[in-house]
Amino acid sequence: MKKKTKHGWLLTVFFSILSVLYLYPILLVFINSFKKKAYISKFPFKIPTDNMFVGLENYIRGIEKTGLISAFGWSLFITIGSVAAIILCCSMCAWYISRVHTKFTSFLYLLCLFAMIVPFQMEMYTLSKVANMLHLGNPWGIIIIYLGFGAGLSVFMFTGFMKSIPLEIEEAAMIDGCTPLQTYFKIVMPITKPTCVTVTILQAMWVWNDYLLPSLVLDTRKYKTIPIAVQYLKGGYGSVDMGAMMGTLVLAIVPIIIFYLACQKYIIEGVVAGAVKG
């Protein structure tokens, strides 16, 4: 059925204006990132001209003050490491839960459901102390914590999908002599791909942007992630260096936008699929 729309062009104009307004806050930060820091708070809406314009000075100062380059590296390392660990371990665990029916597995499944509604504040203090005692305050250790904390949602989503895979395929593989591990990696994992994409996107969005957990667990003098680096500019006493702040914000936003434009289709599909199952 082809839908006919009256006044379609009017809506297009309306949404075009709305889109520009929507992007305006980010544009404003971009404009201000070229302004001398003293002028930013005073004249945020003026275009930087002549004596206001400072070129890339704000960016350089932002990078130097926050150690943004290494923060970007650590963010990337932690996000990729955590998501890979979550995908591999949680999908394996979910397969076990959906194929082995004991009291223990159904209890574990319920526990994962329960973990999804517990707010982080409930665990924040004790988790940071436990992590400290076990010496997990580094980018490798935090991956274990993300695996544990992300397990609730991920195991839940994987189990939901695996229950719908017909058993016959796996049984046939086992009869032909596959061990459970071979069956899992050769048969189950490939079928689960769509759910892997969904879980990857939801968890990557969470881990990349997470501020509180790494700020409490990581040794932030040595390792910063991007949100920590941004918040670090605000920290301490005295006024904030608005110039460095603007530069840092732009540098924090640009990679995400590039990534988003490149993988838009998967991201939106992932969000829809995640919402339907959640």
Partner: protein
């Protein structure tokens, strides 16, 4: 088959189970226990019964944060869902540029709360400067600033979910209603809304819990200023833990109450909207 898999328990389940124990089970149980203790670190807890919970009653900031959060959540849930649904309806009419608009509206979701908080601080303070105010002048500014920020961030996400819900409605259903003489308002009320009820369940659930658990944006935008008046619950708990030495136990007790509130809301909301869903 079950037996063969069962033997591989250490490979399949153990890694997740260990991480889950460290990252969730132990901190959770320890958290509940410590809410009844006086402590400065997790190993020196002394049992004090309900004292921590009694102390919360003397803390006006917690009660204020509770109301502030409840109000904020109600306003933001209503606004976000109504706006997202309206945009979704308009963007499924097949107008030119739909894909671009969708891309633009969804984008803010990928940017972290801390970054967004500072982006909006610049814009809102710039606007408020025209009337010689700032965001931290009163908690009212902080409140609406946060509402605007959250709408801006989340409308796109919810819109995507509503769009997929609307697109899943069989075309014949709407056509049949139109042939039977339903006006477009009646189609919306009697066909579209009941059919997208599952999406409404999900979106209200997500916005509710996001609103209640909001932390990063609150921290970056106002950090509770002026004098803790724009503090949401999550930030209030954080400040009790890390801002007041000797109050760790009280912070943990607040966290337990917070957990119970979030849990109860999640369960009630799920029951309420699920009961309104129709079978497709």
């Amino acid at each position: 088959m079950e037996k063969a898999i069962k033997k591989h328990f250490p490979i399949f389940v153990l890694p997740t189970l260990i991480a889950f124990t460290i990252g969730f089970i132990v901190p959770f149980l320890l958290g509940i226990y410590l809410s009844f203790c006086k402590f400065t670190t997790v190993t020196d807890g002394k049992f004090v019964g309900l004292k921590n919970y009694m102390k919360i009653l003397d803390d006006p900031t917690f009660l204020h944060a509770m109301w502030y959060t409840a109000l904020f959540t109600i306003v933001s849930v209503l606004l976000i869902n109504v706006l997202a649904f309206a945009v979704a309806i308009l963007l499924t009419k097949g107008i030119k540029g739909t894909n671009i608009f969708r891309t633009v509206f969804f984008m803010p979701n990928l940017i972290g709360g801390i970054v967004l908080g500072y982006v909006w601080q610049l814009l809102l303070n710039g606007i408020l400067a025209k009337v010689e105010r700032t965001l931290t002048y009163s908690s009212v500014y902080g409140f609406w600033g946060l509402v605007i920020l959250m709408c801006w961030q989340q409308v796109g996400y919810m819109m995507i979910i509503y769009i997929s819900g609307i697109q899943n409605i069989p075309g014949e259903l709407i056509e049949a209603a139109k042939i039977d003489g339903a006006s477009s308002r009646q189609v919306l009320k009697s066909v579209i809304i009941p059919m997208v009820m599952p999406s409404i369940t999900i979106c209200t659930f997500l916005t509710l819990t996001n609103g209640f658990k909001l932390f990063d944006q609150n921290l970056a935008l106002t950090n509770g200023a002026p004098s803790k008046m724009s503090e949401l619950l999550a930030l209030n708990i954080y400040n009790t833990f890390y801002g007041r030495p000797g109050y760790e136990g009280v912070g943990q007790a607040k966290a337990v109450i917070f957990f119970i509130i979030v849990g109860v809301i999640a369960v009630i909301q799920n029951k309420l909207t699920r009961s309104k869903e129709v079978q497709q």
